[in-house]
Structure formats: structure tokens, C-alpha cells
Amino acid sequence: MNDLLEILEQNSRVSVEDLAKLTGKSKKEIQRAIKDYEKKGVIVKYKTVINKDKIKGEKGVVAIIEVQVTPQKDVGFDMVASRIYKFPEVKGCYLLSGTYDLLLVVEGKDIHTVANFVSEKLAPLSAVKGTVTHFMLKKYKEDGVVLVKEEKGKRLAITY
């Protein structure tokens, strides 16, 4: 990755002006590069990592669901996957090697909502052979960001 993408991956809110200063490019060049990345789908979306545990009254639940599916002729897993990932409850969807096929990250208001989603929407799909649902108990790290506050060592304020 180049400097621009590295910076944006860490913090998408750095202004075009600062990006220019940080990379030694002009503002125009930066704007053009960003547009280009957006068009090519290199930059997919700008989002904020929120630690929902810290928001009062908003205790949603997250479940990791293993799904076994029957692949379909010609299209393999892609077709089933797209049937599944289009549900708004599904926040993440991955095809894996191993004992099951798809791994889903599903979010809901509470355990019942997620359970309903599994039994009423996911399991009835004809290509779905079986599911195993794991509810997440605590998040330590997400998207490369550690969510529990780490104590940082203190440097002396002035040294030679």
C-alpha cells in the first residue's frame, strides 16, 4: 500500500490539506487519487469504529454463525452467499475452507432477534444444510484496533 492508503486506513478523517502535507503531494493530486481509488473500489467505504459496549441503552448482541451449505452448479457458493449477505442483519460474510462453508457476523437487538433470524430466515433456505450459532461475549480487538484501553508508558517530557 502507498502512503495515502496507509494513512486513510488508520484515519479516514485526515483532511485533504493534511494528506497533501503528509505525502508531499499537491491537494489536487490527492483529490484525484482518492476519487480514482473510490471509482476502482480500492476504497470501499469510510466508517467509524464504535465500541457499542460503551453506549448506554444500546446493548445489541453479535453472533458468529457457521453455515454449511450445498454449492450450486456453475455458480458454486457465490449464489447462496449472495442470498445470505443481502439480509441487513448480516454484517459480515466469508467463505472459508474447513468443516463449514460460510462464516457470518450477525447483529441484532437481543438474543431473540438473532435466534429468530436464524430459524426463520437463514435455516429455511434450501441450500443451507446446517448452522451453528456462537454469541459473542466480549470484544477485545476489532479491525486491528484494540478496544480495551491500554495504558501507555510515559516518556519524560523533555530529554536530550
Partner: protein, 382 residues
């Protein structure tokens, strides 16, 4: 009661200023001479495991052989240097101890040592502590604070025993290309002079490639005491690990002193350092981050009128105050009291630097931005 040459070591007005900074809460500090990154995890993890395994004894005087061998291979790969891990490599407690040992090993009372100004504070102090005399070589802003071979050759007439070369430099961030080093060597080589090189910032070179002085030619290798360590490039200041590489006779002399005064470097730190040499990806990431901050910070300083040359290495800028007709210590005190930003006055790095500041960009981008806003506001009141 105290030896005269120690009593006379000047703590100067700077010490007071440092105490002022250290006593003030919530300062944005551009005065720190160490990385703001934490040691790469794999090195820390290795240290933890070593503790769990109970590896807590002394090592050999020269240091763990595995570490010396890794350093020897690292130097060969990076600079084409061949130092024998057994006889020509010594693990020290930081570059600081390496410097002390080098001077102790070669100086006799009254021997002269060339130190270029601005200089890292420890150089003249250690020369004096070890009974030597400092020959100061003033470099100038208009020469990019680089040593001019011609001025160097004038000083050589006084038959100095050694010269200390530090590049990339603390406090200017200036470094030398291979060609420039060759010019310096051309002047030095006819003399019987030992070259002590402090290359502790070698990993933090942003323009050009760092050239190790000993790699210039066979003779330069014989006359060089190469000092380096893990403090800066590997973000390991608190581990206290450095190393010295030189001709067998020199290393043997330095080891003699080290074996009596230090015995050996801390074992856990040595284990962590050996692992750190494998963390080249992390080192590269830190380097790119410093490089971006450098671009940003130098532009901003020049924009607000603090004339600054672009440094090629380390993590310091050395801006001039000549536009403002205010002396560095007054500027630094005012900035601290009014805006809570700490910088180091140039006078800390030698005489004749009353109109310069050292500012370290080893700080988060947010802090650097906020610091610039505050400095700009302070300047507008001058």
C-alpha cells in the same frame, strides 16, 4: 571532595528549564529525544517468555553470542561490513556506554577529540570526564550544519586522537551521503586519528541510503569504532542495548573496561534485542510514519516563519529564530508558560546556537498539529 574536572561540568541554564518543563502538567512536548512508539510486540513477547523461562543470569562479558552473531549478519547484509561476532563485536548498555568505553579505551590525559557543533550533549561531557580535551568544530546553518572538510583539516593540525561523527544527527537531523563521507575521510585518512561513529539513527534515514563510515574502505574500517544500538530505530530506549564494532584490539580493550565496570548488559534486554532485529517490517512502518510527520512538520514550521531546513534523518528539526530576534531560551520559556509547548533551546547542543531550537516530531500527528497552532499563536505575540 569532588574531582575538579567533574565539578566544572556545566549543567548550565538548560537544567533549570528542563526542571520547569518536568514540573508542568499537560504539556505538548516536542522536547523528547526518544520514539513515541512502543517496542515491537515480538521483542516484548520474547522478553516476557525469557522471564517465564527463568533466563535471569549474567551473560558473557561481550554479550550473548546469538545477539552478536545477529548483529554481525545484520551489518553485513545492510552495509557490507564484516565484523567477527566473537572478537569484533561488543554488546553495550546503549550507545551511551559504547561511547564512554571507546573514549576510555583510547584517551590519555590531555588527548584531543574533535566534536562537531551542534552536538549530542553527551559528547563533550564524556570527553572531559575521560580526561580528554574537546576540539570544537562549529558547523553552520548555511552549510546545512555539515562538517566542511577544509575546516576539519585546519583542526587536524592540532593532532587530535579522535573525532566523533554522528549521523543522522541529534539535534539537526542532518546526515551524510557516501560521497560526502569520502571527502571527510580523504582529509582524515593521512592522520593517525580514530573515528568514533554514532550511527544510532541509521534506521531513521528518509533520504538517500545510510552509509556506514567503516564501509568506505579497508583502512576506514581499521580506524573506526562503530557505535549503534536499538534505542531509536527499534523503539527500545528503556531496554538499554547498544553495540560497538571495531578492530579486534580496540574491542578487546573496550571489553576489558566493560568487564570490570559493567560486567555485562542486561540479559532480558539482549534477548529482546536479538528478536527485534527480526522486526524489520515494524521498523519500516515506524520509519514511514516519521517520514510523513517530517514532511508535514517541516512545511508547517516554515509556513509560520520558523525557518527550517528539511532534515534527512532522525526525528528532529532544528529551526532558526533569526527572523524573530529572540533568544532560544527566552522563546522556549515563553512558549512553555503561555502555550504549554516544550522545545529544547539550541544552547543545549553547544555554544553559538542561541538562535536555534530543537523540535522532535516523535509525536502523534494530532499533537504536532495542535503544537503548530499554539506556536503560531505564540509567535504572533512576539
Amino acid at each position: 571532595m569532588i574531582a575538579k574536572h567533574i565539578e566544572q561540568l556545566a549543567p548550565s541554564g538548560i537544567r533549570e528549564f528542563f526542571d520547569l518543563v518536568l514540573g508542568m502538567p499537560d504539556v505538548i512536548s516536542l522536547g523528547v529525544g526518544e520514539p513515541d512508539f512502543i517496542t515491537p510486540w515480538r521483542a516484548r513477547e520474547k522478553a516476557i517468555t525469557a522471564l517465564e523461562e527463568g533466563l535471569t543470569s549474567y551473560t558473557s562479558n561481550k554479550g550473548l553470542f546469538v545477539l552478536r552473531r545477529s548483529i554481525s549478519r545484520h551489518l553485513e547484509k545492510k552495509y557490507g561490513l564484516k565484523y567477527d561476532a566473537q572478537d569484533e563485536t561488543l554488546i553495550t548498555v546503549g550507545v551511551s556506554e559504547g561511547l564512554d568505553l571507546a573514549l576510555r579505551a583510547i584517551l590519555e590525559p590531555g588527548d584531543k577529540v574533535i566534536v562537531a557543533r551542534p552536538h549530542y550533549v553527551a559528547y563533550p561531557a564524556l570527553v572531559v570526564i575521560n580526561g580528554g580535551k574537546v576540539l570544537s568544530l562549529q558547523t553552520k546553518e548555511e552549510d546545512n550544519f555539515k562538517i566542511k572538510p577544509k575546516e576539519l583539516s585546519t583542526l587536524l593540525k592540532q593532532n587530535p586522537k579522535a573525532i566523533i561523527l554522528n549521523y543522522p544527527s541529534n539535534p539537526t537531523g542532518v546526515t551524510y551521503s557516501r560521497e560526502e563521507l569520502k571527502e571527510i575521510w580523504k582529509v582524515l585518512s593521512p592522520k593517525e586519528i580514530i573515528v568514533i561513529t554514532d550511527e544510532v539513527y541509521d534506521e531513521l534515514t528518509y533520504e538517500g541510503i545510510h552509509c556506514s563510515f567503516a564501509s568506505l574502505d579497508k583502512k576506514s574500517r581499521q580506524r573506526t569504532i562503530l557505535l549503534n544500538g536499538f534505542s531509536k530505530g527499534y523503539a527500545m530506549t528503556g531496554f538499554r542495548v547498544g553495540y560497538a564494532c571495531a578492530d579486534k584490539r580496540i574491542i578487546s580493550a573496550m571489553t576489558k573496561i566493560h568487564s570490570f565496570s559493567m560486567l555485562c548488559g542486561p540479559v532480558i534486554s539482549q534477548i529482546a534485542a536479538a528478536e527485534a532485529l527480526l522486526a524489520q517490517k515494524e521498523v519500516k512502518q515506524m520509519r514511514s510514519e516519521y517520514n510523513r510527520r517530517r514532511d508535514f512538520f517541516v512545511k508547517e514550521l516554515n509556513r509560520i516563519g520558523l525557518r527550517t531546513q528539511k532534515p534527512q534523518g532522525a526525528f528532529y528539526c532544528f529551526p532558526s529564530l533569526k527572523n524573530f530576534k529572540i533568544k532560544a531560551l527566552d522563546f522556549a520559556k515563553g512558549l512553555l508558560m503561555k502555550e504549554k509547548v516544550a522545545v529544547v533551546p539550541g544552547t543545549a547542543f553547544g555554544e553559538g546556537l542561541e538562535y536555534y531550537l530543537r523540535m522532535a516530531y516523535a509525536n502523534s500527528l494530532d499533537n504536532l498539529k495542535e503544537a503548530v497552532i499554539r506556536i503560531e499563536r505564540f509567535i504572533s505575540t512576539l
